[in-house]
């Protein structure tokens, strides 16, 4: 099911009554989600991503704008008529019901022509349970299960209705690190198998990047960028997106363009033909630093962190107020006891931004 959001806006009255202006949670969203894809809705907490999800789901009504599922305008439909399945951050399992009863709950609500017989229900429940591999635990109560298992039950309960759209609100944030990795693979697999258009909300960029077909980056109610994870990472539209994606984070310098060349402090690091003289904000991805004794950029060496496959270098540079991080391969390890390290920058990994607006300056 293709999902289209058209100028979707949500305003709340300000809780502080003295301030008359509304809080804009979601501001004029327009984008299209292709059928059968897994979409990561990504942004820092409070950026409006959960509100967006709730509006798609039908739990909240938009202030203006429309939502389309395929050719159907669902903006005014109540949640239960939209055919969506939702998994909540806390899983929202009914504590007094067993796994089987929890998964069956949505089916018992179907009315009229959609009504299923007892056998059909049992079959659907079992199918959904098998899909998430909890068919061994059908008679347990949620309190007798681990977080990961509860999560699976929640997914099964969302799937059992055969929804047109599956929505996941921070599905992994209540799990420990190991389970999180495992579960996100699981979500990927289930989504592939069912082919249901899936949107999941997260504030963890790594999570979103690793399993999404597309990511949508939001900031303060505004949509910043939408695209395939690698594209967004390689080609961020603004400084926020660049900073939000990637671990270790992008290093940000104050730079100057002078005579077609880019200067970081005293170091002339790159040719930027065609750009007028101006100040710029320069973002360099950790993998954009290439250690080279003849490199154009000299940094004070602070620490070398060996992480096995590659090595992370923590260094400092006068044009950057915080320590910069570079990922290099182990062969390029600087000599022990060296006080400085020199880098050459890979132009593809260097992004220039307007210091005022944060917008990308393209070469």
């Amino acid at each position: 099911m293709k999902i289209v959001l058209e100028h979707l806006t949500k305003r709340y009255p300000n809780l502080n009554r003295k301030i008359r202006t509304d809080v804009i949670a979601v501001n004029d969203f327009t984008f299209e989600i292709p059928d059968g894809k897994l979409i990561g809705l990504l942004g820092p907490s409070g950026c409006g991503k959960s509100t967006t999800l709730n509006m798609i789901c039908g739990l909240e009504a938009p202030t203006s704008g429309r939502i389309w599922f395929g050719e159907e305008d669902v903006t005014d439909l109540p949640a239960e008529r939209r055919g969506v399945g939702m998994v909540f951050q806390s899983y929202a399992l009914y504590p007094h019901l067993t796994v089987r009863q929890n998964i069956m709950f949505p089916l018992e609500n179907l009315k009229g022509a959609d009504r299923l017989t007892k056998q059909e229900m049992e079959a659907r429940v079992l199918e959904a349970a098998k899909m998430v591999q909890i068919d061994q635990l059908m008679d347990r109560k949620p309190s007798e299960m681990s977080g990961g298992q509860q999560q699976r039950v929640a997914i099964a309960r969302a799937l059992v209705k055969m929804p047109r759209v599956l929505l996941l609100d921070e599905p992994l944030s209540n799990l420990d690190a190991r389970l999180r990795l495992q579960t996100r693979e699981e979500i990927r697999r289930i989504q592939r198998e069912t082919g249901i258009t899936t949107i999941f909300v997260t504030h963890d960029q790594e999570e979103a990047m690793s399993i999404s077909d597309m990511i949508v980056v939001m900031e303060a109610g505004v949509l910043n960028q939408i695209g395939k994870p690698q594209e967004v990472y390689d080609d961020p539209v603004n400084l926020f997106v660049a900073k939000f994606l990637g671990t270790p984070p992008i290093s940000v310098f104050e730079g100057k363009v002078k005579g077609g060349r880019l200067y970081l402090g005293q170091d002339c690091v790159m040719d930027v033909p065609g750009l007028p003289d101006r100040t710029v904000t320069v973002g360099v991805r950790p993998e954009g630093f290439d250690p080279d004794p003849q490199g154009t950029m000299t940094c004070g060496l602070r620490a070398v962190e060996v992480m096995g496959r590659d090595t992370s270098i923590v260094a400092e540079h006068p044009a950057c107020p915080v320590p910069i991080r570079a990922i290099i391969s182990t062969e390029d390890l600087p000599e022990e006891g060296a006080a400085t390290v020199r880098f050459r920058l890979k132009p593809a990994k260097v992004h220039l931004f307007d210091p005022g607006t944060g917008e990308r300056i393209r070469l």
Binding site: M1, G36, F69, G70, E71, E72, D73, V74, D76, L77, P78, E80, R81, R82, G83, L110, D114, E127, A128, M131, L159, K161, M162, P163, R164, V165, E193, T194, G195, I196, T197
Partner: protein
């Protein structure tokens, strides 16, 4: 399981159009529905709480109200003046005040002692707790009869209490039909017996909720038991003690059925009436049919209780240590 087969909510355009009106109806319904849920409560509270509240004020100022013809002479404070001059009311007022002044401190004190005792023991704690709570679930009218029998002196028998009194060298007294102070003693004793379970329960759970680490810390510092009690235990449970005192005052001022249990329904004859008893006597029974006097007496009681509660709250605000 694919997204395309068996769409539970249907995806065809026709259905989307037909839902439009449904949506509007849904919106209207969602504003009405909460009131439907509240309707039973609103009806009952309206008829039996809100309306009577205003009605009782009206009754209390209608002079010479006749319940048979439902007529009255005029509006004024005569009912209050009558009640305040009525010797039965003054007797009831006196009885109630004595009862309050004796039973509230005594019951709170005993409850505190017993709770401390319960808190300090290990074995049999639950058994004692259960026994002590028993009076709470008994019909006070029924058990009051037992007290009456225990304390009563009849021509056939001096009764159990007098047996004890004479055994220690005292003289037998009729506690039920005898001197005023003897009757007052039974009344207070029974009231304490009846109200203690609740107070013990509340104080025991208050004591149990004090952080054990505070005691441990104090003991490590070599604090004496007495100091631990006055400086840690008492301040920590002081909100609950004050709560019990306030509710104790309110409850004791409304004393009535315990008195009926011991002295019978004609409390005026026994000289043991209470303010609430006076209200009911004015309303109904042999002396009844005067809702205006009853209303005035009830409002006087309400004013007294309100004043005392406010004083209590003021004192507690100054002294209670809130955690």
């Amino acid at each position: 399981m694919s997204a395309q087969n068996g769409n539970a909510a249907g995806g065809d355009g026709k259905r989307a159009v037909s839902t439009r009106t449904e949506v509007r109806r849904h919106a209207v319904l969602s504003q009405i529905k909460p009131w439907l849920y509240l309707l039973p409560a609103l009806i009952f509270l309206g008829i039996f709480m809100v309306y009577p509240l205003f009605d009782v004020l009206i009754y209390s100022v209608e002079e010479g109200y006749n319940s048979a013809s439902q007529t009255y002479f005029g509006i004024g404070g005569y009912n209050y003046a009558y009640v305040l001059r009525d010797p039965f009311f003054l007797q009831a007022l006196k009885n109630t005040f004595i009862l309050v002044i004796i039973t509230v401190p005594v019951s709170t004190g005993i409850a505190l002692l017993i709770s401390l005792g319960l808190h300090s023991i290990g074995r049999l704690k639950e058994l004692f707790q259960t026994i002590f709570f028993l009076p709470y679930v008994t019909n006070t009218l029924a058990v009051g009869l037992v007290f009456m029998i225990l304390f009563k002196k009849t021509p056939y028998s001096d009764g159990f209490m007098n047996l004890l009194i004479t055994a220690v060298g005292g003289t037998a007294v009729d506690f039920i039909d005898g001197p005023y102070w003897a009757k007052m003693f039974v009344m207070c004793f029974y009231t304490v017996w009846v109200v203690l379970p609740f107070k013990i329960l509340i104080l025991t759970s208050a004591l149990a909720s004090v952080d054990e680490n505070l005691y441990k810390a104090a003991r490590v510092d070599g604090t004496s038991s007495f100091r631990i009690f006055t400086r840690i235990t008492l301040p920590m449970i002081s909100p609950m003690i004050f709560y019990l005192i306030i509710t104790g005052f309110i409850g004791a001022f409304k004393a009535y059925s315990d008195e009926v249990a011991i002295f019978g329904t004609d409390l005026n004859a026994a000289g043991m009436n209470t303010i609430v008893g006076y209200v009911y006597d004015m309303l109904y029974g042999d002396s009844g049919g005067y809702p205006s006097y009853a209303a005035a007496a009830a409002l006087i009681l309400f004013a007294i209780v309100l004043t005392i509660t406010c004083i209590n709250l003021l004192i507690s605000r100054k002294n209670v240590h809130y955690t």
